[in-house]
């Protein structure tokens, strides 16, 4: 077989997404019917088709032969690590599409561009986690980011949303610039952009200052994408301004992709410089945990609160990376899997709720007395909150345990101590939501409005995060072990 053809087979999921997203674009553009109604019909059709395409791509990921396969002259790699993350990314992206339908319809902005952009973002994210070279890394990252900038400004008629899009774009472009600068430094000093090549250049012990600078710049650029402190400033504003389903999407799939990318870059390309980046990551992790926990206390807007919560959660996930051991990476992947379910579930509950006059819920105080007006949604929300707070026996406790177990095994007990203490601080604001829902009197009388698919997704996520989900820990642990093993060349 011609090498390019063989490469295409290896990159089958991306191929499906590329062709699929272009087809969806055609379908949306030329399939429109009469005005408003036709638009919505097309958007529904395109969403459905997009979910199917995600399904096919996911099947292509799972069906791929086990083991490491390199394509496009080392630009692209498909291994257990990328497969695990791709399943998460595609699942989260598909969920983000489905959950948005009733909300966008309510806001009268249900347009076919939404699923198309999401599919393109998914393509970018899959590229990111499969990148084995600085160049493909950058291409994947930018493809995802560009789609995300547009998505943030999806409510183009609304000043808030446009502002969020612009803010995200300007800061994102800056971060990309920093990243790119780091890449050029690394290329200049290592003579290659390939991850394996960089590791080889570093391994002879001649670690030059330029390479370290490159490493710092690259980490800074990536930290922006995962919104780790001190590169988090955009997060609360963008979450607040962007339409809620878009904020839900931002908090889930891109985080998994960028974190996966960061793990791969640091663990493979910069493996010999582990003691250099370990300190940086430890700082990012501690700062994110502390700021995410403390700054969220004063929030009264749900989306801002969830933004800070996602910052704190990224901090916890980074703890696993700080350990820089296979066990740590396993824990990180486990954390990501559970985090996606928790955050998407929380957003879904928030989106499901409407005030009696049809306004979507954004202020925390709006949830007062939810346990009386919507007991089932309140229960689901309480499960997500206790799970995010990391209280056993809810599933959210176990990934925290896993990451801290990993750093303790790596001999970093103080980090675990700081992490657990910040998790107590964070518990305060998660409890505040429970308090508002269960202890406060009902003033608003919220109504639940949403599709049956959303109800089912909330139920699924709540069950997963409840103690029942502990039964799934065994299979997840096996999958993460395989993924981390692939990264460290153990598999």
């Amino acid at each position: 077989m011609h090498p390019n053809l063989a490469s295409i087979v290896v990159a089958a999921p991306e191929l499906v997404l590329t062709v699929g997203s272009l087809l969806l674009l055609m379908l949306g553009t030329f399939g429109g019917g009469a005005k408003d109604f036709g638009d919505r019909l097309t958007a529904r059709g395109v969403t459905f088709a997009a979910v199917v395409i995600m399904g096919i791509a996911g099947w292509a990921v799972i069906d791929a032969p086990v083991g490491r396969a390199v394509a496009f002259n080392g630009l692209y790699v498909a291994d257990g690590f990328s497969a695990f993350l791709k399943v998460l990314i595609l699942g989260a992206a598909a969920a983000s599409m489905v959950l948005a339908l009733p909300w966008l319809e309510g806001a009268k902005t249900l347009r076919f561009e939404y699923p198309v952009l999401l599919t393109m973002a998914a393509l970018g994210m899959c590229m990111m986690v499969s990148a084995d070279d600085m160049l493909s890394l950058y291409i994947g990252l930018e493809l995802q980011s560009l789609a995300a900038y547009v998505l943030a400004a999806f409510h183009r008629g609304e000043g808030r949303s446009a502002e969020a899009g612009l803010k995200y774009f300007v800061l994102g472009a800056l971060a990309s610039g920093i990243l790119l600068y780091g890449v050029t430094l690394v290329y200049g000093f290592a003579g290659t952009t390939n991850f394996g090549g960089i590791a080889l250049a570093l391994s002879d012990g001649s670690k030059s200052l330029g390479l370290v600078f490159g490493l710092v710049f690259i980490v800074a650029g990536l930290a922006f994408k995962i919104s780790a402190v001190p590169f988090h400033m955009w997060t609360p504003d963008v979450y607040e301004g962007a339409p809620t389903p878009v904020a839900a999407f931002f908090s889930a799939a891109p985080k998994a992709a960028a974190l996966g990318l960061m793990v791969r870059v640091l663990v493979t390309a910069f493996a010999p410089a582990v003691f250099d980046w370990q300190q940086i990551v430890a700082f990012l992790s501690v700062a994110s945990m502390i700021l995410g926990a403390v700054a969220a206390i004063a929030q009264s807007n749900l989306k801002r609160l969830l933004a800070y919560s996602s910052i704190a959660n990224i901090g916890f996930a980074l703890v696993g990376l700080t350990a820089a051991t296979p066990v740590g990476i396993e824990a990180l992947l486990f954390y990501l899997a559970v985090y996606l379910a928790m955050t998407l579930g929380t957003f879904m509950v928030v989106m499901q709720l409407r005030t009696p006059d049809g306004r979507p819920v954004e202020a925390m105080a709006d949830l007062a007395g939810l346990s009386r007006s919507q007991p089932r949604l309140a229960l689901a929300m309480a499960i997500f909150m206790f799970s995010l707070a990391g209280i056993p026996p809810l599933l959210g406790f176990w990934p925290k345990l896993a990451v801290f177990q990993a750093v303790i095994a790596a001999g970093m007990v103080p980090l675990a101590l700081i992490g657990f203490v910040t998790s107590v601080v964070a518990a305060y604001y998660y409890l505040r939501l429970v308090k508002i829902m269960y202890f406060d009197e009902d003033k608003v009388g919220l109504v639940s409005e949403g599709s049956r698919a959303n109800g089912a997704m909330i139920l699924g996520a709540a069950l997963f995060c409840s103690p029942v989900g502990m039964l799934a820990m065994g299979p997840i642990a096996a999958a993460t072990a395989a993924a981390a093993g692939a990264l460290f060349g153990l598999g």
Partner: protein, 527 residues
């Protein structure tokens, strides 16, 4: 012994009942009635199962019985249950108090009844799970999970400052527990097992023991609660509904003592022996300070809450006497306090339901207007003071015997706690039961109803039984206590003032060998 997995059943059954209660059909009143009966039936079945456990338990066999293992829940923990005598007794205590709690809120709780009872059922499951867990992380899971239903019970059905109290309760205990979790993870890492049995047998480096001890101490001391981290308890007690207070005082406080017995003493014997000065110091302060604070309380529940702090100080002092009498006395104290303070909270609940105030000054003369109530209150007051023939006496006596061998000075200070305890309890009784009624509404209060009598009488019986023939409760615990003392045999004890003569510099001594002092227990058993 049977093949039936009784322990799993006792954990799963209340959970199922809680779910059932939540989905019962019908209107508000019908749901409330049906859920009350469901909850009562479930708790009674559990009490029955608990008694089956007791009956099937082989008293003089060492080690753990009714062991169940199943490799559930992936790589981190295992479903591993089993009980020794200590766990058995505490499980019995939980199962015994639970039907009383359900009955206590039978009429007074009218808001969100199904949710209320579901929270209690979940609570029962978690408490039993905590005592039965043989896997350290499984223990932690149950231990921590108990915070959630208690948080809701205080926050939803509590009094005026319920929100503050619920937060304080939750965050205080959570902070203590996460420190313990760090210690647990370190141990798991070191030993490579989460099995409590394996961990108990492992000899940790004494320097590591020191830090581990402090990590666990942070959690158990808050839970206990020991001075100065006791401040969540009065708030939580005052704001919690009656049944919530009963569970809090009756069982949840025992988790701290249970933790010391199960983890701190046998796993970190060197650190325990080296840090007795810390525990004794805090206990001595607690017993005097809490008693004095109790004296000036105007709120009945707060007074009893502070008396709990004082009694718990006896438990910690007794445990860290590090000999059989002390540990056994502490365990009896935990059981006795569970019954007596639970009953006292029930008594407060009885008059609170009538007058809706806990202020002592609003009562008075109940001996005239509510004679049956006054009699029962007197009984429990005496039991709390430690009158011979009640369970409190056995407990205090044993603790002091044990403590005397380790530190005479500590014993001296702790004994003043008994005197102060008598002072505040009797004064409380005098103000509530004697004198003139504070108002016409006080005078018009009806005496105990049949339901209330039915709640209190079993506790009277249990307190008398434990006071007159404590052997039935001590016998099952003896092998477990002996196993702990064996771990402590011969470890170097911290230098504490042991003699009343201060001049002589006390030489390092060792824990008295278990065998040597064992006869004293028999003297006591004959009491």
């Amino acid at each position: 012994m049977t093949d039936m997995p009784i322990l799993s059943l006792m954990i799963v059954l209340p959970l199922l009942a809680a779910m059932l209660v939540l989905v019962l059909p019908g209107d508000e009143a019908g749901k409330a009635r049906a859920s009350r009966w469901t909850a009562l039936a479930t708790t009674l079945v559990l009490l029955g199962l608990g008694l089956t456990l007791w009956q099937g338990y082989v008293n003089d066999a060492p080690g753990f019985q009714f062991v169940e293992r199943a490799a559930l829940f992936g790589p981190w923990l295992e479903w591993h249950l089993g009980i020794d005598g200590i766990a058995l007794m505490l499980i019995l205590l939980s199962a015994f108090l639970m039907p009383l709690c359900v009955l206590a809120g039978w009429e007074s709780v009218t808001r969100r009844v199904p949710e209320y009872l579901a929270a209690f059922l979940v609570m029962e499951s978690l408490m039993i799970g905590t005592f039965a867990a043989r896997d350290m992380l499984l223990f932690y899971l149950f231990f921590e999970a108990g915070l959630i239903p208690m948080f809701l019970i205080i926050g939803i059905w509590g009094g005026a400052r319920r929100i503050y109290a619920s937060y304080k309760f939750f965050l205080y205990t959570l902070l203590g527990s996460v420190l313990m979790l760090v210690g647990m993870l370190w141990m798991v890492n070191e030993v490579g097992s989460t099995d409590i049995g394996v961990l108990t047998a492992y000899d940790f480096d004494p320097r590591a023991q020191f830090w581990l001890f402090l990590a666990f101490f942070a959690s158990f001391a808050v839970k206990m609660p020991m001075w100065p981290v006791h401040t969540w308890l009065p708030d939580a007690h005052v704001e919690a509904p009656t049944a919530g207070s009963v569970i809090l005082a009756g069982v949840l406080l025992k988790l701290g003592g249970y933790g010391f017995v199960r983890f701190s003493l046998p796993m970190f014997p060197d650190a325990s022996a080296q840090l007795i000065w810390l525990v004794f110091g805090l206990s001595m302060v607690a017993v005097v300070y809490a008693s004095l604070v109790a004296l000036v309380q105007a709120d009945m529940k707060k007074l009893i809450a502070y008396s709990s702090v004082a009694h718990m100080a006896f438990v910690t002092a007794g445990l860290f006497a590090l000999n059989e009498q002390g540990i056994e006395g502490s365990l009896v104290m935990m059981l006795s306090h569970g019954l007596v303070s639970g009953a006292l909270f029930l008594c407060v609940g009885v008059i609170y339901d009538r007058l809706h105030t806990r202020e002592i000054a609003r009562y008075g003369g109940l001996a005239d207007t509510m004679p049956r109530y006054a009699l029962l209150l007197l009984f429990f007051t005496m039991a709390s003071v430690g009158l011979p023939a009640t369970s409190g006496f056995v407990a205090e006596f044993l603790v002091l015997i044990g403590l005397y061998q380790t530190s005479t000075w500590a014993t001296f200070v702790m004994t003043t706690g008994i005197i102060l305890g008598a002072a505040y309890m009797l004064w409380l009784y005098r103000r509530v039961a004697f004198g003139a009624a504070a108002g016409d509404d006080t005078r018009a209060m009806p005496d105990l109803s049949l339901r209330e009598t039915v709640i209190l009488l079993p506790v009277v019986a249990a307190v008398l039984w434990m006071g007159i023939y404590p052997a039935s409760f001590q016998e099952p615990m003896k092998p477990a206590v002996a196993a702990i003392v064996e771990r402590l045999d011969g470890v170097a004890l911290a230098t504490v003032p042991t003699d009343m003569t201060i001049l002589q510099a006390a030489a390092p001594q060792t824990v008295p060998a278990g065998q040597a002092a064992r006869h004293l227990v028999n003297i006591e058993a004959a009491h």
